[in-house]
């Protein structure tokens, strides 16, 4: 099996896996980074969202072979001390219910704010629409993204 050198959370990590292994399972099973979640495996729920060169992507449908030298950020690497504006807003607004979807929600929101630091409500909703929260915490997810935008310096 080929060895892949991946740039994950600022570190180069090597994995020896089949080319079609989704990045999600590389993270979870091979790199001990289980913060990225498995919800559907077909790109529908957003639980597995990570950053690929700063853009939010679904890691469950991204083969490891296509990662190449892109900078990958997972929830574990979003901030050093859990103090990314989005993470802080998630606590302040008290978003989580079961919490399972939230890593994916946070990664989607963080990518949105990177590109669009002051999003409109509509932009927030468009960006977050792909992430399912089975507990239905959508009101606070929306509120927290807007709250994080207030904290984000453009």
């Amino acid at each position: 099996m080929p060895v892949y050198k991946l740039n994950i959370n600022g570190k180069i990590r090597s994995v020896d896996v089949a080319a079609d292994t989704p990045l999600l399972w590389v993270l979870r099973d091979h790199l001990q980074l289980p913060g990225t979640k498995f919800g559907c495996g077909i790109g529908q729920c957003g639980a597995c969202t990570i950053h690929y060169d700063g853009v939010a992507v679904r890691s469950c449908v991204m083969p490891v072979s296509s990662v190449r030298d892109a900078k990958i950020t997972t929830i574990e690497g979003l901030s050093e001390n859990g103090d990314h504006p989005v993470q802080l807003a998630w606590d302040e607004v008290d978003v989580a219910q079961c919490g399972y979807c939230q890593a994916g929600q946070i990664m989607t929101a963080a990518a949105l704010l990177k590109k669009t630091p002051k999003p409109t409500l509509e932009q927030v909703e468009n960006a977050m629409h792909g992430n399912i929260c089975r507990c239905g915490a959508y009101h606070r997810i929306r509120e927290a993204v807007l709250e994080a935008a207030k904290k984000t310096k453009p």
Binding site: F38, A47, W90, D94, Q97, C135
Partner: protein
């Protein structure tokens, strides 16, 4: 101040001396009997013999609380701790909460389901906190040589009021362990609550927001193998033959094992197993009824008139009431099966060793899971441990322990620690659904619009008694007949958030709307009038509190401006379940000729709210859940096989589809009742009643999206 009377026989559990400092209270929080804490002196909670649950105060002032009930997003870890900390007058920033493993010696009702944890534990937790506070207060008084009455507790300190001197709880903990327990401890008045009722943030927010491995799916163990299981894809079939040669040759595959009607593929990583699983060839043969949704529709029609119904309740003479009726209203309502779809798929870790069994994972019912494993493998329960991870949602699915049994059985065969995980497809096709049900409601009105007769027949598939025969409006109507017919099917069903009432409430509340209209009455006035009848001339057994029901109806009508918003189409619904009352008003607006659900007001009476932030989340989440599933949720079957298997074909509500939710609570100071479920049942009815106002069309089947009203719109949009 209210006072706790102690029961001396059982108050003092064993006093155990341990080395180190600090205060530890052991008491059966969840026991129906032993209420009062014993005093233990310990630095390390781990060394305490396992006959009790614990609240410990370390010498640095950290208060550690073990939370016994599984956490699945109902925020129980925070709410439980808040109750203890309130009576303890603890400094909230020093409170830590740990999930307790299964321990039937220490805890009773270590279960998440039925919205029952808070009501069960409310007084027990308060007493736990109050007892610890008493000990600390008296320890301080002794040290100062002053009467305890001159001392007070505040945020982790005992203060001597006249002098202003103070000690922290940490400083007092060791001495407090030597104080004799009181016969009774005072509990706070609710006007003095500082934590209870306040919006306190989820105590695990940081772990969640930073991706800590807190869920079952994240669990790893040295030497652990992974496994996925191929189960019969169609209900009513069994394995005929297996060809696993190709699978075994795949990289990373360790073994292929048949057990029961399952074929497990064991391997070193999830993806290798997922890939190999596609090469597994299993032939299945018929092993029971092979059913399709189409057949169920016909079956329901037959059962509606079947002679063998089970009578659930009978008041007066229904036949006579209908014979003499001035008007009869009759309608049928139907819902499909629903998968629970917690976002974390089923999974469990098991290690069956010669000397015992270790189980780790997400379960709503650790005790029943252990009992079942014990029975299956013939290992005594005291040789089986169960650690409970955080649950990525439950909704009732994890009240079943099929997935725990699988993991245990597989581990016993392969003699290795194994984590079995389900794919989303496995989860959606693997059973234990909200049962499909059809209801027929009939109402008889007399010439002056009084509801004189009421009939309900519920027919369902593995639904058991699919009615709530003693619930409103029963009790207000002189002649009632409620009966059920159940069809036994190979399609497995189970409790789904607000079991039965999640659909029954919709059917009943839309029907009552129609009856009110036929009687020429306003829907709110009509319900209040019925309650008044139950108050003045109650018929038979009544399980609901008429005044509390009355209050939520009036309060939500007031809050939503019922009947006072020209141009807004309003729908009303109210339901009593899990000992709580929730009234809802839905607002619909017409947009481009289509009804759009804008806002739902919800007023809940769940007694004392413990955590305002969590409570608002529970209500909003339940409304979103109730609305989303009423609108979109459908699992259909073709030849025994689920036709939807993942979120591309099974639609869950998403952000842009949610209505605004205005949630509030009746503030009556009554003991708390459940809130995990009760806000869900009324939603479908409120929505359907508002849509009726806007369009003149009654929705009678779920999902609404397939009703002619919406189906037609979708067609026009597509063309």
């Amino acid at each position: 101040m209210s006072t706790l009377q102690s029961n001396t026989r059982r108050d003092f559990l064993k006093k155990i001396s341990l080395t180190g400092g600090g205060l530890m209270l052991g008491f059966k929080w969840f026991s129906a009997h032993a209420e009062m804490p014993a005093i233990l002196n310990a630095a390390d909670p781990v060394v305490v013999p396992a006959f009790n649950s614990y609240l410990s105060i370390a010498t640095d002032g950290t208060v550690n609380i073990f939370s016994p009930n599984p956490e699945l997003g109902q925020n129980i870890m925070t709410s439980f701790a808040q109750i203890v900390a309130e009576e303890l007058d603890a400094d909230w920033t020093k409170v830590r909460v740990t999930q307790a493993p299964l321990d039937t010696q220490k805890y009773e009702r270590q279960l998440t389901g039925g919205s029952g944890a808070i009501p069960h534990s409310w007084m027990r937790l308060r007493k736990a906190g109050a007892s610890a506070r008493y000990l600390l207060l008296n320890a301080a008084a002794q040290r100062w040589g002053v009467p305890a009455t001159e001392c007070t507790a505040d945020s982790g300190f005992i203060i001597h009021k006249p002098s202003g001197k103070k000690f922290s709880y940490g400083e007092l903990a060791t001495d407090a362990a030597k104080i004799e327990m009181p016969k009774e401890v005072p509990l706070k008045d609710r006007k003095d609550f500082k934590l209870i009722g306040k919006p306190i943030r989820n105590i695990k927010n940081k772990d969640i927001a930073t991706g800590k491995p807190i869920f079952g799916l994240d669990y790893q163990r040295e030497g652990m193998v992974h496994a996925m299981v191929q189960r019969p894809p169609a209900f009513g079939t069994k394995i005929k033959s297996i060809d696993s040669e190709a699978v075994k040759k795949q990289p990373g595959i360790i073994d292929v094992v048949k057990f029961q009607q399952n074929v497990a593929i064991v391997g070193r990583s999830t993806w290798e197993i997922m890939k190999a699983k596609k090469l597994l060839k299993v032939e299945y043969e018929k092993d029971g009824n092979i059913e399709s949704t189409k057949d169920h529709d016909a079956l329901f029609t037959t059962l509606m008139d079947a002679p063998n119904a089970t009578v659930q309740r009978k008041d007066g003479d229904v036949a006579a009431a209908f014979q003499s009726a001035a008007k009869i209203i009759k309608n049928e309502y139907q819902c499909p099966f629903l998968p629970h779809s917690p976002l974390e798929p089923m999974n469990f870790f098991a290690h069956v060793r010669p000397d015992g069994i270790e189980l780790v994972g997400p379960t709503q019912t650790p005790q029943r899971a252990r009992e079942a494993v014990s029975k299956l493998l013939g290992v005594p329960e005291d040789k089986i441990t169960v650690d409970i991870t955080r649950l990525g949602g439950g909704f009732g699915r994890r009240l079943k322990f099929d997935y725990v049994l699988e993991a245990a059985e597989l581990s016993s065969i392969i003699k290795k620690p194994v984590k079995v995980i389900w794919s989303r497809e496995d989860d959606m096709m693997g059973g234990s659904y909200r049962p499909a049900v059809r209801y027929r409601f009939e109402a008889a009105l007399d010439a002056s619009g009084n509801l004189t007769g009421y009939k309900l027949r519920g027919v369902g598939i593995n639904a058991g008694n699919n009615t709530r025969q003693d619930n409103f409006p029963v009790g207000a109507i002189p002649n009632v007949l409620i009966e059920t017919v159940d069809h036994v099917s190979p399609i497995t069903t189970g409790a789904w958030r607000a079991p039965i009432t999640n659909f029954l409430a919709f059917a009943e509340q839309t029907f009552l709307d129609e009856v009110a209209e036929a009687a020429g009455k306003d829907p709110v006035a009509f319900r209040l009038e019925l309650l008044d009848k139950a108050r003045k001339s109650p018929v038979g057994k009544i399980t609901y509190d008429i005044e509390r029901f009355d209050t939520v109806i009036r309060q939500v009508a007031e809050k939503a401006g019922w009947g006072k918003k020209p141009g807004v189409f309003q729908g009303f619904s109210v339901y009593f379940s899990h000992a709580s009352y929730v009234g809802q008003v839905c607002e619909v607006a017409m947009k481009d000729g289509k009804p759009a659900v804008q806002k739902i007001y919800a007023v809940s009476d769940c007694g004392q709210v413990i955590n305002m932030s969590g409570a608002l989340q529970q209500v909003r989440g339940a409304v979103v859940d109730g609305y989303g599933h009423a609108m979109f949720g459908k699992l259909s079957f073709k030849e025994g096989k689920a036709e939807q298997n993942n979120f591309n074909t099974y639609r869950l509500i998403r952000m842009k589809e949610i209505p605004e939710v205005d949630a509030s609570f009746v503030d009556n100071g009554k003991d708390p009742t459940g809130l995990g479920e009760p806000a869900l049942p009324p939603t479908g009815g409120a929505v359907a009643n508002a849509i009726y106002k806007a369009t003149g069309k009654r929705l009678k089947r779920q999902p609404f999206l397939e009703e002619p009203l919406f189906a037609k719109m979708q067609k026009t949009e597509e063309s």
